[in-house]
Amino acid sequence: MAKKKTIRTIPQQRAPIREQEPAERTKNFAEVAHGFRVEDALHEAERCLLCPDPACVAGCPVGIDIPGFIQKISAKDYRGAYDVIADTNLLPAVCGRVCPQETQCEGVCPVGETLEPVAIGRLERFVGDKAIQEGWSSVPYIEPNSFRVGIVGSGPAGMACAADMAKAGCDVTVYEAFHLPGGVLRYGIPDFRLPNEVIDAEIDNLRRLGVKFECNTLVGRLFTIEQMIDELGFDAVFIGTGAGYPSFLGIPGDSLNGVLSANELLTRCNLMRAKDAGYDTPIPLGQRIAVIGSGNTAMDAMRVCLRLGAGKVHCIYRRTRAECPARAEEVHHAEEEGIEFHWLTNPIEILGDDKGNVRGMRCIRMELGEPDESGRRRPVPVAGSEFEFEADLVVVAIGTNANPIIGQTSKLKLNRRGYIEADKNLATSMAGVFAGGDIVTGAATVIEAMGAGRAAARSMKAWLGIRDTDHVYRTEKAGGNGKLFGIDLEERNYARVRIG
């Protein structure tokens, strides 16, 4: 092992990132941030202290062996790095791009106490992209068993569960309501953040594992969850249908033309390709656009509007920048691109013209009061601070509720808010049916949804009585102090025996 690194001996500066210039990138849908070049990756890998008790691993919702893969990068063993990541994360090229690293792995990295933390996400993306480029995928030897597994929804949760069950030897079919798989990765997150080629590559990897995709299939309505078990012959089912059902403001003028959800705008643009010539789906566009909310969805909606040619885009948010839930990088990019932010501002009415189109909003200033249940300070209106805000398109991105279709069509137990109820093993109230991702937790993150898909796969294997070999290997590597049967793997104080 290399000699011990300290905060003083590592490169102090992060490897440079190359990005499209703001003025140029708002005219296209190409990716904003270019990936690391090899030399950047090697530089950044040097910055990792290879902590013996790494905080970053605990900060990652799926517990990727981060120092493990970074060490492989340093050793220029990129395939090895990929294998380490692929052990826990199926979608490194996706997560490296879209994880909110500052609140997960990078947020707890001790390097960040004095310098900028190790750019774990960018390193992960480097490895993920390399894998796509080189066509690596870890397709293990799969011994088919006779189990059939049905997956509802092809978002990150469904994809992760499908992969694990296929690797365990099951015959896996993924059902997707849309005509293309990918979930939010496809219809929500725009190309300049996550190019379609990356999603296609990850879906192809699943196909290589033998997973079948059936699109245009609205489960619940075309057949129910009960029918999947009783009639279609599935031994187990996983539900990962995402959240959906956008909230509107509930203020006068909500249904004027020119008021739409960010989901609608993004779906028209990304999935239906309204942005490209030769596609039929129309997209509404204004000259002065107000986007309500400041999560990832709001950022994406605003930046899509800019790229579609909007004159000016404004962000209206009732708290301050400090509470803004979007990824730090996206807020930064949005600011660079000229989005105007109006913090501590809340719309109270949307104003229309005589044709039923939006012409503006009445807003009120807010201030932060006492902390609420979520621990964030509650925004309260400032009396007498109302003002008019001119806008010809209002995009609402203030969150989503549970999609009702599965609840309407099955006897599955839902919680008070309409999400599917699942225990800690992600089992639902129906035997053999598991659920995870946004439809269980409410809107969350890609990596959490993926983690839920994998956790559900583990329970599903246990339920089907498939021995989870994966589990044993995991304890060997991560838990158990790297020891199995008292043998320390890192020391390699034993010889592998090859038979035949």
Partner: protein, 314 residues
């Protein structure tokens, strides 16, 4: 790329043209035929670059494994489909059946009102009511005698059928509201009305039955994208509340619906639709010049009929 793909997708097994703007497509989809219930709809993508358009399942045949759509050519997509969707070709995507199935209530006496194109989607409901043992009155409205279709199908499942034409060329002269008055006069004890057609017509029906306090169910048709409750584009106002027609409907209590809101929202892409149609018609003309192949329905390009202003029997 405007040809419906021939190899994959959902095969069209039969087609019938009711008039130069209305056509029927029968599509092979055994699972859908099995699952479909009256009142539900599908979302169709005719080709990879197309829009997703909602169309009501006008009929289904479980033994043949097919569903039937009746389509009115009103804009770019529906006109293009009129040209390209021939028997043997396929639709790129058909998803569904969407929406909550209509409640086939045990009401003893039910009247089903269909205006123009609404005649097709009301049919499976009328048939189901008949099968459930109700006394079924059909009220169908058309502009004139030549546009009448499916009269025979309705005769089979209705105890009484009232056909209305705007110009009086057949049946009762006037709109379906005239038919409603006739029906109420003959049967003061009608338990429920179900009305499907353009919003203005449904609004008129709801107003016609309101004074009599007879429950009136309408099937709303706002602009949709996904049809799965994810985008909120299809939101309608019902008794002051926001509802998504694709997952909370499409059937709602007609006396609670804010029809003006619905009609205003239906116009929200008017300019884009017009532009798309013109672009497409221009393309057709160009192709016509190049190949000198006859292209139907491309001549009257500029005049986009507004399906909701033109009150067919409403």
């Amino acid at each position: 790329m405007s040809k419906a793909s021939k190899s994959s997708g959902f095969e069209i097994v039969a087609r019938e043209d009711f008039s130069d703007v209305t056509y029927l497509l029968e599509i092979r989809h055994p699972l859908m035929a099995k699952a479909a219930r009256p009142g539900q709809f599908v979302i169709v993508m005719s080709h990879e670059h197309g829009e997703r358009i909602p169309l009501t399942i006008a009929d289904f045949n479980r033994t043949k494994g097919t569903i039937t759509l009746v389509i009115q050519a009103v804009g770019k997509t529906t006109r293009e489909m009129q040209q390209t969707c021939q028997v043997g070709t396929s639709l790129y995507g058909v998803a569904g059946p969407m929406g909550i199935p209509s409640e086939i209530s045990h009401a003893k006496k039910m009247a089903f009102v269909g205006g123009g194109l609404g005649v097709a989607p009301i049919f499976p409901q009328a048939r189901a009511a008949k099968e459930a043992g109700a006394y079924v009155i059909g009220i169908l409205g058309f502009r004139n005698k030549d546009l009448i279709f499916w009269e025979d199908k309705f005769r089979k499942c209705c105890d009484e059928l009232i056909v209305c034409t705007d110009d009086g060329s057949a049946g009762v002269t006037g709109s379906v509201t005239k038919g409603i008055q006739v029906a109420i006069a003959g049967h003061p004890n009608i338990d429920e009305f179900v009305a499907i057609g353009p919003p203005v017509m449904m609004k008129a029906c709801a107003e016609a039955t309101r004074p009599h306090k007879i429950k009136t169910v309408v099937s709303l048709n706002p602009i949709m994208v996904d049809g799965t409750g994810m985008c909120g584009g299809c939101r309608v106002k019902i008794g002051g509340q926001i509802r998504f027609a694709c997952v909370d409907g499409p059937d709602f209590d007609g006396h609670e619906v804010d029809f003006d809101d619905l009609m205003a929202r239906l116009r929200r892409f008017k300019e884009e639709e017009q532009a798309a149609l013109e672009r497409w018609s221009e393309n057709c003309r160009m192709r016509e010049i190049v190949t000198s192949a006859p292209v139907r329905a491309a001549d009257d390009s500029g005049s986009l009929p507004d399906p909701f202003e033109e009150v067919k029997g409403g």
